[in-house]
Symmetry: C2
Subunit: 292 residues, 2 copies
C-alpha cells in the first residue's frame, strides 16, 4: 500500500516512543522527533509505511549510537512467550482442530508489537493469548489449510520477537521440511531477527533465512537478491503482522496474511475493526479489493 496521511502522525508518535526506548536524554528525544519530521517531509508517499519507519529507525540508531535499542525488550518478550509456550502447546494438542488452534495462537501472538499503538506489552500478551481461542477470526481457514497441503515451498515471513515463539505452534502444524522461516536482515523496532528465531528454537524445526533488509516489513526492492529468488520460487507465502501486510498486500497476489488489525487504515482495507484477528488472502488481481 501507499502511505496515507493518517500514517504520518503515527510515524512521529512511534519515533518519540522509540527515542524514549533508546535513551533517557530529553534533548535526544526532541532531536529524534525533529529528524523524523524532516524524514517524513522528504519521504515518497507512494512507498508503503514500513519504508518511512525504516528511515526513522536508522536515524534513531545513528543519533543514539545504539544499534539495537529494542534488544532487551525483544529478549524479555521471547522469554515471557517461552514461559507461556508449554500451556499453549497443550491447548493446541487438546483442540478438536489443532491446525486452527495454532493459527489462532499465531495471530494472537501478533499483539506483541512495540511499533503499533494497539500493540501491547507483557500483561496484554497473556490476556490476548487467553482470549485467542475464543475470539472470532475472520478469514477462510479451509482455503488456508488446502493451500498448505498443496504447497511444495512455503515461505513463512515472521514479524516480531516474542510473537515468533507462538509462530512455532503454527509451524509445527505445517510440513516442516517444506517450510522456510524468514526474519528481518537487521534489527528494526522489535521485529524478529535470526537471534530471536534461535531463541524460539526454530532452526531445529525449519530452515531459517533473513531477508537482508532492516525495514519493519517486506519491501522487496530493499531485500537481498537471494531472498527475492526464494520469494519468487515459493508457491505459498504466509506473512505475519501489519508491516508485511502493508508492504505486500496490494502488490503480491495470493499471500496469506495473519495479523491483528492495529489501526483504522488497515481496518478499512480488510473490512474488519481494529483489534480483529484476521487471516486475509491478498487478491489474485493486483489492487482489487477482497473481504477476508
Amino acid at each position: 500500500m501507499t502511505t496515507p496521511p493518517d500514517c504520518i502522525p503515527c510515524f512521529l508518535r512511534q519515533a518519540l516512543e522509540a527515542a524514549r526506548f533508546a535513551t533517557d536524554d530529553p534533548a535526544l528525544h526532541n532531536r529524534i522527533v525533529l529528524q523524523a519530521l524532516g524524514a517524513v517531509a522528504a519521504m515518497d508517499l507512494s512507498q508503503p509505511p514500513p519504508a518511512a519507519i525504516q528511515t526513522i529507525q536508522r536515524l534513531l540508531r545513528q543519533t543514539t549510537g545504539v544499534d539495537d535499542p529494542y534488544r532487551d525488550a525483544k529478549q524479555r518478550f521471547n522469554h515471557f512467550a517461552l514461559e507461556l509456550l508449554p500451556e499453549c502447546v497443550a491447548e493446541v494438542r487438546r483442540a478438536r482442530d489443532p491446525f486452527t488452534a495454532a493459527v489462532r495462537f499465531a495471530i494472537a501472538g501478533n499483539v506483541i508489537d512495540l511499533g503499533a499503538k494497539g500493540g501491547l506489552g507483557e500483561a496484554g500478551m497473556h490476556a490476548a493469548l487467553r482470549r485467542a481461542l475464543g475470539e472470532p477470526m475472520a478469514g477462510d481457514i479451509e482455503a488456508f489449510r488446502r493451500a498448505v497441503a498443496a504447497a511444495r515451498q512455503i515461505l513463512y515471513l515472521a514479524d516480531n520477537a516474542g510473537e515468533i515463539v507462538f509462530d512455532r505452534l503454527l509451524i509445527e502444524q505445517l510440513p516442516t521440511d517444506r517450510v522456510t522461516l524468514v526474519v528481518r536482515g537487521a534489527p528494526t523496532i522489535n521485529d524478529a531477527t535470526r537471534e530471536d528465531a534461535q531463541t524460539a528454537g526454530l532452526p531445529e524445526l525449519v530452515e531459517v533465512i533473513d531477508n537482508g533488509s532492516d525495514a519493519p516489513g517486506t519491501i522487496l526492492a530493499d531485500c537481498s537478491e537471494y531472498f527475492r529468488r526464494r520469494f519468487q520460487a515459493a508457491d505459498l507465502i504466509i506473512a505475519k503482522g501489519q508491516g508485511n501486510f502493508e508492504s505486500l498486500a496490494d502488490t503480491v497476489p495470493g499471500i496469506f496474511f495473519l495479523f491483528k488489525v492495529k489501526c483504522p487504515t488497515v481496518a478499512a482495507q480488510v473490512g474488519r475493526p481494529v483489534g480483529s484477528q484476521v487471516l486475509w488472502r491478498s487478491p489474485r488481481q493486483k489492487n482489487a479489493s477482497q473481504s477476508p
Copy 2:
C-alpha cells in the same frame, strides 16, 4: 508551557482531521499534512502548543480557501447545547450549591473540542453533561468562590463554541456587572468567537470582548493591546480549556483554569488523569508546581 515532543504527532493528527473537516479532496488532505509537517519542523518549541496550531490552522484556511471550516459544526454544537440548557438551568437551581453545580457544568461543557483527541461530539456531550454533577472534580472550589466574591474585574476567557452555552450557567452565578467575557479574535478550530457568544445570549448578560488573536489559546504577545490592558487590569481571570491552560498556566500566576484533561502531557502537569474535570489555579510563583 513550552511544546513537548509529545504534541508533535498530535498537531499532525489534528491537521489531518481539520483538513478532512474543511474539504473532501484527498489531494488537499495530503498537501495540508505536508504543510503542517513543514510548519512544525520550523516552529519554535519554546512557544506553547497553541502557537503551532494557530500556524497550521492558518495554512489550512489559506490552502482550502475556507475562512471558517468549523462554522457549521460550531453552530450545530451551539444549538445542541442550547437545547440542553433549560434542563441544566433547572438542575443548577435545584442544586444544594448552585455555584458548584454551575462550575461542574462549565467544566463538563469543555468535552466539546474538535481539536483534542479526547474531545467528543454531540453524543459524548450529552453523556458528559449527564455525568457532570456526579463525577469528582479536582480543585479548591472554596478558594474559587472567595476569589469571585472579592474580585472587582473578572475576565472570563471562553474556549469552544457549544461549550460557551454552558459557560453561561457559571457566568449567571458570578457578579455579572463585574464580568467581561473574552472570545477569540478570529475563527480557529471550533473556538468561540463573538458570533458564538451572541448565539449563547451572553452579550445580554455581560460585556463581551475579543482578544484580537486567532490562536486557540491566549498567547498574550499575539493578542491586541486593548485585550492585554484589560488582562492586566483584571483582578480575577477565569480561563476555560486546555488551550488557555497551555498558553497561560506557567507564566501568569493566580488564574483559575476550568477544563477537562485531554492529553497525558497536561495530565502530568496537573497531576490528574486524562478525562478528569479540573479546577486548577496557576501557582503564585512562576514555574512552581502545584496540585489542584
